[in-house]
Amino acid sequence: MDNIEPPLIKRVTGTLHPINQTKDFLLNLLNQFGFQEVQGPEIESEEFNFDMLNIKKSHPARQMHDTFYVENKKKVLRTHTSPVQIRSMLKSKPPFAFSSAGKVYRKDDDATHLPMFHQIEGIYVDKDVNFANLKDLINKILLSLFGENVEIRFRPSYFPFTEPSAEVDILSENGKWLEILGCGIINPVVLENCNIDSNMYSGLALGLGIERIAMLKYEVSDIREFYKSNLDFLGQFK
């Protein structure tokens, strides 16, 4: 009788949401590369969300069908985390390296897009920052994320706030290229908007969709799974 012990009670822990796990992982990674985290509001002015980032009044992203407007069109739900960078650049003198991560909003709702999702961005401004430096940083980040054997491709792209701009793909196991992030050399117009002398300083910027990285890392095929709050789903990410 003395040998009878009740069954062991396993300690059951909960889970941090997989999007926040991925966000923390990426923030830590950028932190290790020298980026300091900054934060900002989700309700933004058009000035910070668009104008300062060289997104012209006529840009399609500013239309009512792409952006959520609030307070009688006086403000927007930020469409990216870039206004956080603007706010930080206005308060700082180069050199600096900032990262920002959080919720962003776009007027989309289908199998591959949600009206709310998460982004993480990094900017670095200093003397003589160039595209070759950007490539080095991106390569290191992607190697940390996807392993040493990952094959990486840089493609020209277009973002109003960077020039040159690039999109970066990795080669998946099935031989298809998968878009991972956008990046570029900060457009001098943006630096000047933030009172930074673009003749003296240059900068690089990169941005990733956190859901996209989480989907790839965890092999989740439907983005909507993240927001059903299903315990069978959430409980797996321990």
Binding site: M1, G14, L114, N133, S229
Partner: protein
């Protein structure tokens, strides 16, 4: 934009394979898919100049040398007599009109024209509109054909306030509102400029005399209208991205050549109206600057060769081609150079950025880890809510008119999450969410809040199975230190919730700033490492629960029973746990209760499936002497 591989080859002196062409297009930044002979392009919005065969061939010139293989009508053309007024030269600084009349007979389409319809799946409408559509594909410049017999009087272009209805050439009636660029004749709107023509002046199969309009519209005057009126058109797509302000006459001369390929021309006249002159763009030659931006060491010869091949004219300065609306700075030129070198061929240079030490655990991380440690799962919810309060922030253009407010509390989202999981047969629910919420009380207020909700059993083990998640449970973990009690716990009544469950629901929400550091004292906060597990898709099929109680008379077998339970494994067994343990010393009997939860990822399990699974799982225990499961009969 789609194009036929062979069509593009006509514009290239060298003839790359599909694979080689695809590689160079990617290198230049032109993403695409290939389906057979068709390239389906995704051109970035700054490169409106590449939305045509000739545009793409210009961009590929460095690699494959481009040429214009088609005849351009080069004879003198009479000056068109047209009563035209341009009342908005900022919206339309340049416009050319061509009047053309043909004989009755139209020959069958030449292969270059026929393929545009047959291979790309475009729909033929009438001779002149077909040519107009083809020309846009070949040259990137939209044109619009008015049936000349309907343009008998004056023609005016204006950007004016409109409040009338307009019927498009596709027969769709739209209500115009606000300012619109329109063509009018005798005061009647006959075309929504740059978007779509009107039905009243549209061409038909019988049309033999047309007035072709070919314009440069300022993108800012056109943008947004096609989406506003739900009129998707190739013209709007191109004008929004900018066309070549110097191309109009040449495009119309090519239009004439295509007409001439298929019909006898009886009459021709053309006239260009220039409202404001285009200022050619010049940039200084700054090879040093480009190398500084890119981190490269390209020579002057390479610099000149790259840019010249892209159509830039280089003398003392760099003259930007009229079709390159996107190039205005040294950074833009750097991108041009980089595209030709190939982004992948620019060598990386290590960044001189000082690495930072590991991030310290901040307050949010501490809270997260505290609740994870206590078995809570974190959720993230959308902020859109149907609840309107005085302080709610209203979304001007919501996706769903029933959810037009930003939530001012996390409570309702968490109640929805709880009910969702209850519907999926979850009987022990502990959730938390940390999020900013926004309200407007004279100014926009941003607050970071923590919401916690619980209901059901305390846990899935023999000690907690019968205990309920209640006010005491929450108080014990949240308000154990009376001096720093910040959590007010409320019971959420079930009356107004669509649920038959009876378990009580408890909820609490606090501002993060109200949680003092002292709250974490006395709690060991373990940091949970991030582990990228491989996710197993969640089954949408119902689960089935079966409970069993083992009666163990031979105590020597107890450890074997427990060991068997720990090894339970079966295809349809989703979860299992011991929910009861009782040692009856008087009767010399041990009772062990287990719960088995079955669920398939591919189908609804039948009773037979479940019985088969139970048989496989329990057999090693049943086979033990001195262990019985009362009521269990295995086949």
């Amino acid at each position: 934009m789609k194009f036929i591989y062979q069509d593009l080859l006509r514009f290239l002196k060298e003839q790359p394979s599909k694979a080689a062409l695809s590689e160079k297009l990617f290198q230049l930044g032109h993403e695409h898919d290939i389906n057979g002979e068709i390239f389906d392009m995704e051109i970035t919005p700054n490169r409106g100049d590449c939305l045509s065969l000739i545009g793409l061939s210009r961009d590929l010139n460095y690699f494959y040398n481009n040429e214009d293989p088609f005849e351009i009508y080069n004879d003198n053309i009479d000056l068109l007599d047209l009563d035209f007024k341009n009342l908005s030269i900022t919206s339309c600084p340049k416009i050319t009109f061509l009047e053309i009349e043909i004989d009755e007979e139209i020959s069958s389409y030449k292969p270059y024209l026929e393929n545009y319809f047959s291979q790309l799946g475009n729909k033929k409408t009438n001779f002149f509109s077909d040519i107009s559509n083809y020309i846009s594909y070949e040259r990137g410049q939209p044109t619009h054909c008015f049936d000349k017999k309907y343009i008998t009087k004056d023609l005016t272009f204006t950007n004016k306030l409109c409040d009338e209805s307009f019927k498009t050439l596709l027969g769709k009636e739209i209500q115009l509102e606000g300012k619109n660029c329109v063509f009018t004749s005798s005061g009647e709107i006959i075309s929504l400029a740059g978007i779509m023509g009107g039905e009243s002046t549209s061409c038909s199969e019988n049309t033999r005399e047309v007035l072709v309009e070919c314009a440069f519209f300022n993108p800012e005057a056109i943008i947004g209208k096609s989406i506003k009126y739900n009129l998707k058109s190739d013209a709007a797509h191109k004008f929004e991205r900018g066309v070549d302000i110097e191309a109009q006459e040449k495009v119309l001369r090519r239009f004439i050549s295509v007409v001439k390929d298929h019909a006898v021309i009886k009459k021709l006249s053309m006239k260009t109206f220039i409202g404001s002159h285009f200022n050619k763009k010049y940039l200084p030659i700054r090879i040093d600057k480009v190398n500084k931006i890119l981190g490269t060491k390209i020579s002057k010869e390479q610099y000149i060769s790259f840019l010249t091949k892209l159509g830039f004219e280089i003398d003392d300065e760099i003259k930007v081609p009229s079709y390159r609306n996107d190039v205005a700075s040294q950074n833009d030129l750097s991108e041009e150079i980089a595209r030709i070198i190939g982004y992948d061929d620019i060598k990386s240079i290590p960044l001189n950025l000082k690495r930072r030490s590991q991030l310290e655990q901040d307050k949010i991380s501490k809270i997260e880890d505290f609740f994870i440690d206590k078995g809570f799962n974190e959720v993230i919810n959308m902020p859109f809510s149907d609840i309107e309060e005085k302080k709610s922030i209203l979304i001007d253009n919501p996706l769903d008119s029933n959810r037009r407010n930003l939530r001012t509390s996390l409570k309702n989202s968490l109640i929805e999450n709880l009910l969702f999981n209850e519907r999926r047969q979850k009987d022990s629910i502990k959730l938390f969410e940390i999020s900013d919420v926004y309200s407007n009380e004279k100014k926009i207020i941003q607050e970071k809040r923590l919401g916690i909700i619980v209901s059901g059993r305390c846990g899935h083990n023999h000690k907690d199975f019968s205990k309920k998640l209640d006010r005491k449970y929450l108080n014990d973990i949240l308000n154990s230190n009376k001096n720093i009690s910040v959590f007010e716990i409320e019971e959420i009544p079930r009356e107004n919730l669509k649920t038959k469950k009876k378990d009580k629901i408890f909820y609490t929400e606090v501002l993060l700033e109200d949680i003092p550091e002292a709250f974490f004292r006395g709690h060991k906060i373990k940091e949970y490492p991030i582990n990228f597990i491989k996710y197993v898709p969640v089954s949408d099929f119902p689960s089935s629960v079966r409970d069993f109680s083992f009666s163990i008379k031979d105590f020597k077998k107890y450890n074997t029973v427990i060991s068997c339970i720990e090894k339970f494994e079966e295809e349809n067994l989703k979860d299992f746990f011991v929910f009861d343990f009782y040692l009856n010393e008087k009767l010399k009997e041990i009772k062990v209760g287990i719960r088995l939860i079955f669920q398939s990822s591919t189908r609804t399990l039948s009773e037979e499936d479940i019985q088969m699974s139970i048989g496989k799982i329990l057999k090693p225990i049943i086979d033990l002497d001195g262990v019985v499961v009362p009521g269990l009969e295995l086949n």
